[in-house]
Symmetry: C2
Subunit: 568 residues, 2 copies
């Protein structure tokens, strides 16, 4: 490729709406252009990277025994009714209606379609296990698309599905995919970590997310400083430091707490710790109202709460709603409220005694409250978010620390969720119909491109790993008016291309400083500058990751080729 | 790949809804599975072919200097308002509305998006010409999806766009793309022909369609038996044999034609030829009613008529509508009708005299009618379909013959249609804003897969050209219980894979006849059977296109490898 022909435009200014570095650099380097909120064009430079990522993904999955296919974007809504997922998915689902008034879903994932297809393709246990995948454009109507390719509404995803006769076979393939994912993300040059996670709308039991560790990550990960436990905060469980577990039950008493609405204010005012207070949160769901009580120094984990209640919509109750249910904003408590409100006691309070709750009248709290005696929770469950400093439940020795992560992949053990609702069986070895067990495996292909940049950049731009750089080598004459330099640059360009090095020649009539800046912004790993040293028979080689050298004209091709191959 | 692991199911029965051979064979071979009307899954075997086609398309386009990018499926409707195409496109356009009530188009083509992107990417004449393309899933809400991948609602397409400072540059790139298309379709092993065509909804002036010649083709192509003129019937022009052009104007006269409504009946009854009658067709459009008059032995060409009138909707007027406008069904004519009906005289009648028209009363026609004297047409234009036997307008010597074609590609000279409506300019060499000129270039990737089968099949199944066969070689032991045979088959499988031949081994515990049938249905070019002749140190090689040979075990790998390479 010749730079003068490349359809591209680099920008000096950081685009206003780009909050994270990958979005900024991809836009500045000309790799992507925005078409609408969360919708992008991959320009030629971006498409080159995207294709290289796809090739690596396909190579490793094929090696691992998965087979590529291609499912449609448009999915008949009937399949989603069959699985029961249509009703459970909120407004993120994009749909369209055809000229005959049939509704279709613009696929966010393809569990239903693949289950239906496999049902019509295999019939015997002999054909199992099997694993198929696709790389395809997916759709999700995010409330707030942001961070460029990190949270778009149209994105490229690899989704794979495996089918098994039994759980052992699923476990083996889950591990096989986990290993394949490790190889993929290693080849992409990423620092990543598999963490336990919530299975969300997809369903199933065991699931891991693959997170690229980066300060801009949207997810918080808690990990043990002692063992290998790591989990998304939405899922993480922990031992908290227990307080108040012993002692006699004291008589409860209503006390005045004028204008003390927050846990902090109440604790200060009463000269106790937040851990002695019960935080009360009133929520509204499609199944009714709930009051959640948890220890004052913890936060409600909405995902755990949603899973517990099996609800789709969860929001804080309004002041009016609270009032109508006998609750007073700022002074909420479990005592004396309407009986339709379901009280959920978090495990952080399970063994607590003599804590403080709101009195449900303004400017008052009740001290020395005890569940069982003063009120009866409907449920006791873990619905709080674990936090830094909590104890690890796996090793019981370590404590949890926190990191930010970008989720680039997820593997699920779906179990029989889809095969049951959609009735997928084969004839088993015993001649009887056997319900299949499924796994599913995703990689956010376009998001991975962004994640690589989040981990590989500096003040000058992107620092692509060799394996997915848009070009491996960029050749330029220091002085485009020097015929000898230009001739040598062109000769090297031809030589590199002939031996399969992905090379661009910057043949633009621009100053060398301008060209080097563009090259570093775009992130090309190797720059070769044919300059004054040509008189002594050598050219300059500059590595994007750092390192300059002078190489003899007769050696540069072989040496750089070796360097390129070794770093892939 | 091992056949025992391949996620596939071949079928003996031809699926009921499959009308054409490609649909039948792709379904029977397990290459595609239907998900909904006009919506398919490409199963692993189909996906392998699809990817090979895509690779060839990309290689040739890259070589021709085009650059790949990837645009989104979702296109903001505002861009289509800007170009003015939203209003001009009918119900084929699929749209969706997001959670914020913004409307998006599911892209059928991408002229608007690319024009907008290029507007924001280049600014100077120095950056031109340029040519970009993508391979992407496209959407079109066909009234009647049919013929499998030939006319689907979701399909894979390559669409490319070029931008130029002037028409000469566009002409040169148009020719460059034409040549690239020739190379692509040659590599795909197709017999094809470029024909003149209508530019349809895309717009622009000059356009050619690339047609694969096949009896199942949806399009009729007229071509000259003397020169290289060839055109889609929707566009074809011709000289017709002229009748009635001399002679005096006779006095017109109303005659009774009881129950003679068709041209044929009227001509027989009056003992004249159809060419002496004027066929009158009343149409309704969004701009009002028109009456088309053409020679009785020709048919109205709806596309020519729509283009002439610049309308989107065109349908025959109903009996009631005709009545209200002074026309009588079966006896329609141009005389005495409501003045709001626009009369269009086709060129077939331009020099005609003394012809017969309906009298606009039941059971009567008027003979010896002459335009200019008895009625005045609003327009005279070519709105008939040329037909076999008409004279060629290019060479004036030959006559037109007919063939069926499958349109697999189309190249357009768009001119300034989009750059004008969307205001795409660059600074020209003279320092002033210059409006750009565009070309656009499409290939129906998934349709091409079907077209290849339409041309390459026999009673046993598909006969893939080597370049895009799902596998190049299929190896099997004649007797899967014979250890020596199995060992040699496995050894050959490894040897072939090691030298990069795309090989499958049929390791299923099935009879050899069954395996050979599957192989031929799927269309694998080379079968290698390790059978009894192994005792004499040879194996059997059977070519799908015909030809059997015994090859020594020590030679078979090199010989077949050479055969494979030479036929790609």
């Amino acid at each position: 490729m010749r730079f003068s022909k490349l359809v591209n435009k680099t920008l000096k200014e950081t685009p206003k709406d780009a909050e994270v570095i990958s979005h900024q650099l991809m836009t500045r380097a000309g790799m992507i252009r925005k078409v609408g909120s969360g919708i992008y064009v991959y320009m030629p430079l971006g498409q080159r990277v995207l294709k290289k990522i796809q090739t690596i993904v396909c190579e490793e999955l094929d090696l691992a025994g998965a087979q590529e296919l291609l499912m449609p974007v448009l999915q008949p809504v009937s399949l989603w009714h069959e699985s029961g997922r249509y009703e459970k998915t909120g407004k993120e689902l994009m749909t369209m209606t055809d000229r005959h008034n049939n509704e279709f879903i613009l696929g966010p994932t393809h569990e239903e379609v693949i289950t239906d297809i496999i049902k019509n393709t295999i019939s015997s246990y002999k054909e199992l296990p099997l694993n198929v995948y696709q790389i395809q454009t997916k759709f999700r109507d995010e409330v707030r698309p942001r961070f460029g390719l990190m949270r778009g509404r149209e994105f490229l995803m690899k989704d794979g599905y495996s089918f098994h006769l039994n759980h052992d076979s699923l476990e083996a393939e889950y591990e096989n995919m986990h290993q394949a994912y490790n190889r993929i993300f290693e080849r992409l040059g990423l620092k990543f970590r598999a963490v336990e996670a919530d299975s969300g709308n997809i369903g199933g039991s065991k699931t891991h997310e693959i997170h690229v560790l980066a300060s801009s990550g949207e997810d918080e990960i808690l990990y043990c400083n002692h063992c290998d436990y790591a989990a998304n905060i939405e899922k993480a469980v922990a031992h908290m430091a227990i307080e108040n577990e012993s002692g006699e039950l004291k008589a409860s008493e209503t006390v005045e707490t004028p204008n003390r609405e927050s846990i902090e204010d109440v604790a200060n005012f009463l000269d106790i710790t937040a851990a002695n207070c019960a935080k009360a949160v009133a929520c509204k769901t499609e199944k009714g109202f709930v009051l959640v009580l948890l220890r004052g120094d913890y936060e409600v984990n909405e995902i755990k709460l949603k899973n517990l209640l099996d609800v789709i919509d969860l929001e804080w109750a309004s002041e009016e709603e609270m009032k109508s249910l006998g609750m007073e904003k700022g002074y909420i408590g479990p005592i004396g409220i309407h009986q339709d409100v379901k009280i959920i006691l978090d495990t952080t309070l399970e063994s607590a005694k003599n804590y403080v709750v709101g009195a449900n009248v303004a400017n008052a709290h009740i001290i020395n409250v005890n569940h069982g005696r003063d009120f009866t929770p409907h449920l006791v469950a873990d619905i709080h978010s674990a936090k830094v400093g909590d104890g690890c439940t796996r090793c019981l020795g370590g404590t949890l620390e926190s990191a930010r992560g970008i989720e680039v992949g997820q593997i699920f053990q779906l179990g029989t969720k889809y095969s049951e609702s959609m009735n997928l069986t084969v004839i088993g070895e015993d001649g009887k119909p056997t319900k299949l067990t499924m796994g599913c495996y995703g990689i956010g292909v376009s998001r991975t491109m962004a994640a690589v940049i989040e981990q590989n950049n500096d003040d000058f731009g992107i620092v692509w790993p060799m394996a997915i750089a848009p070009f491996e080598v960029n050749i330029m004459a220091a002085n485009p008016k020097d015929e000898e330099q230009v001739k040598m640059a062109e000769s090297l360009y031809t030589q590199f291309r002939n031996i399969g090095v992905d090379t661009i020649i910057d043949d633009r009539n621009e100053r060398i400083g301008f060209k080097l800046k563009d090259s570093d912004l775009i992130g090309i790993p190797v720059k070769i500058i044919v300059g004054k040293s040509l008189a002594e028979g050598s050219v300059e080689v500059k590595l994007r990751k750092g390192g300059d050298m002078l190489l003899a004209v007769g050696e540069v091709v072989a040496t750089v080729k070796k360097m390129v191959d070794e770093s892939k």
